[in-house]
Amino acid sequence: MDIDEFFKRPTPLFILILLIVILIAKLLRLETTDYLITIMFFIGIAMALNIIMGFAGYVSFGHTVFLGISGYVFALLVYYNRDFANLMNMYSGIPIFFIALLAGGVSALVAFLVGIPVLKLKGAFFAIATIGLDFAALYIIKAFIPILNPEFFGAQIILPAYALAYKDNVFVAMYITFALIIIANYLIRRSRFGMGLLAISEDEDAAEALGVPTTKYKLISFALSAFFTGMLGAVFGLNSGGVDENLFNLAHTIDMIVMIVIGGIGTVMGPLVGSIIYFILYDTLLVTYPEFNLVILGFIVAVIVLFAPRGVVGILRGKQFMGKKLRDIIE
């Protein structure tokens, strides 16, 4: 792809600008480090789920399970291996990213194995099966962790202070993870693989008949989605000083789904814009109107879903701009 064509397309440009803005906000201290880590986490989980839900049309309602699995893998690795913990304080936090890769890999493996039977289900049945997976994993961890080490407070692992000595390192790891996820989203959307996923979401049988290897594609996208979700869970768990049952909380999945839906399903730009709007709105309301924030937010989300069922970006895609069909350029 030549460079001119690259800049004619708003999505990569938007991704580039977003990454630069976050970096500037960090360097000029426009926002606190923890704010940036948190916003990247929330945009990231929406983008990670987007790969299976947005592209392939499979609503993985228990997706938060991968935050939990990788969060715990990461926390255990760091808790029991002091070398890891020491490494994390060196090289600007890049080792955190590599340990998170490892933790994400475990989620990908779980998703792959579970996906073989579960991805045969469709619609609500798939969603319910993934919720089941979430609860199963949660109960296994609740039973397993206290046996593993009675020093833990129940299923809660609190990391030692030295593991989290520099929040800037966590920022670096989160930033790389975040960049990886949104760039991967864009590349997948543009690829033959991504086209195949979109075909699956339109009509799976037709896609199969036209030669899309649906089973393989679904499995890969589920595993990839779990991999990215897991990486975020690992880094975010570290930033929370440790992991606990909260990572398995279905509220995370609801956040992810809402962010994707208000942005526009089936695109890269949609969940990106949707999650930014949702996060900033949520955060501002939480700080300013803690009593009513959920009511106001619920109202706004309801309005968007009612009047723009295809999301904020979805609506734009139906329009023309300066003689161009926006559908052709917004991905």
Binding site: T38, F153, S240, L281, T284, G318
Partner: protein, 427 residues
């Protein structure tokens, strides 16, 4: 036509969002301006409280407790820091009982609201997310609702604790048992297998060993257990004559009830949580008499300035009557221990600042390590190294003739303990 409508609605939606964002931003700005415009003599205490979610009840009471403390301090001339008078103000956000936004909100408290000292959120789950932020910015953070000890074993330098940790929950009852000088004490420890109760049991075992008492039976039952018959028979067979344990309300009631029905002759019964609630007596009647329970704080404890004088430590804060009256005046309800421990944490934080004579965090932390005060909540003193609370004792209550009486420690007691529990032992 359809597309025109779509344009109109989408424009409307975008407009609504923009307007709301502007309003929100304006209010936010205005509020921060008010905060910033206050005169130099204000000490800001930052905290997130759980106004929604699973800790809503505890969070609400904790916030009220903090507000009572702030009002009391300001009504009594504020704080004297290095010869200057300061007022105290509370800056708080809602953490929705989830650790997700805790680091972000604590960063905001420190960097944007420029608070001087922090209080931890409720529960150890949330505290573990706040402690690294406090550490990063070198701010002292006082824990009021995290009874877990583990956060204080991770090397956080600026975290200090204002309530009794879980491992010490049953220590008061064990001490009380030892003071009876009864050579024939055989303890059965039967507790719920949850994070909190297991930690309590672990501490109880250590205390029993330390006191040289005899532990003859131990069993951890799963959450939700209602049938204890076989466990009780096993404990009886092991010769146990003292029962310690429990977990939550339902199981605590069931355990006591079945021990009574199965004719277990017990000299003493110490159950977590359940007996502190009035429902306990209503459900059990005479079986409740003699049952003991530990509590962080109880309505009617007798800590007072006179007691402080006897102990040779400084008294700080409202008296119990004053406290309860202030709470009623401000909020119209009764405080419970969640409120009391939050109040105590504010008092401890402010006293540490006063003792430090400056708002420098290292000075405050050093002063906190030296502090030894008595408040309506009890005595407060931390281990200078780890920040763990070492002086605050659980009060022990005992049901005596249908009334809940505080029996331990002596400084707080309303009545003397009945040992052995006559209605259980001699029947």
């Amino acid at each position: 036509m359809r597309s025109r409508l779509a344009i109109a609605t989408s424009t409307l939606v975008v407009l609504i969002i923009i307007i709301l964002a502007i309003i929100g931003g304006a209010v936010w700005y205005f509020m921060s301006l008010q905060g910033g415009a206050q005169y130099g003599g204000v000490i800001k205490i930052g905290v997130t409280v759980s106004l929604k979610g699973k800790f809503q009840h505890e969070g609400d009471l904790a916030l009220k407790g903090m507000q009572v403390a702030v009002k009391w301090i300001n009504d009594h001339g504020g704080v004297n820091v290095g010869g200057k008078k300061y007022n105290v103000t509370l800056v708080y956000y809602d953490d929705e009982s989830s650790p997700d936004r805790v680091p972000e909100l604590y960063s905001k408290l420190i960097e944007e609201d420029k608070v001087d000292i922090l209080l931890a959120p409720y529960s150890s789950t949330l505290t573990k997310a706040a402690a690294p932020v406090a550490e990063q910015f070198k701010k002292v953070i006082v824990s009021h609702g995290g009874a877990s000890d583990s956060i204080f074993q991770q090397g956080y330098k600026y975290a200090v604790q204002a309530l009794t940790p879980a491992t010490k929950y049953l220590k008061s009852i064990v001490t009380l048992l030892k003071e009876q000088n009864d050579p024939d004490i055989k303890i059965a420890l039967i507790y719920e297998n949850t994070a909190f109760s297991s930690t309590v049991a672990k501490g109880a075992k250590a205390a029993i060993q330390e006191a040289g008492l005899n532990l003859v039976y131990e069993f951890a039952y799963e959450k939700g257990t209602q049938d204890f018959a076989s466990v009780i028979e096993e404990a009886k067979a092991a010769g146990a004559n003292v029962l310690l344990g429990g977990g939550h309300f339902q199981d605590g009631v069931a355990l006591t009830q079945q021990a009574w029905q199965l004719g277990w002759k017990l000299k003493a019964i110490g159950i977590l949580v359940a007996p502190t609630l009035p429902d306990f007596y209503q459900k059990l009647g005479d079986a409740a008499n003699g049952v003991m329970a530990p509590a962080q704080w109880e309505y009617g404890v007798k800590y007072s300035p006179d007691v402080a004088k006897n102990l040779g430590v400084e008294w700080y804060g409202p008296t119990n009557d004053e406290y309860i009256e202030m709470f009623r005046d401000m909020f119209g309800g009764e405080p419970d221990y969640h409120a009391a421990e939050a109040t105590a944490a504010v008092l401890f934080a402010v006293k540490a600042i006063e003792k430090a004579g400056s708002l420098d965090s290292d000075a405050i932390r050093a002063a906190a390590g030296q502090l030894d005060i008595l408040t309506f909540f009890g005595r407060l003193k931390i281990d200078p190294q780890t920040g763990l609370q070492i002086a605050h004792e659980m009060v022990v209550i005992q049901w005596q003739n249908g009334e809940k009486k505080i029996i331990y420690p002596e400084a707080a007691a309303q009545a003397s303990p009945i040992y052995p529990a006559t209605n259980w032992w001699q029947r």
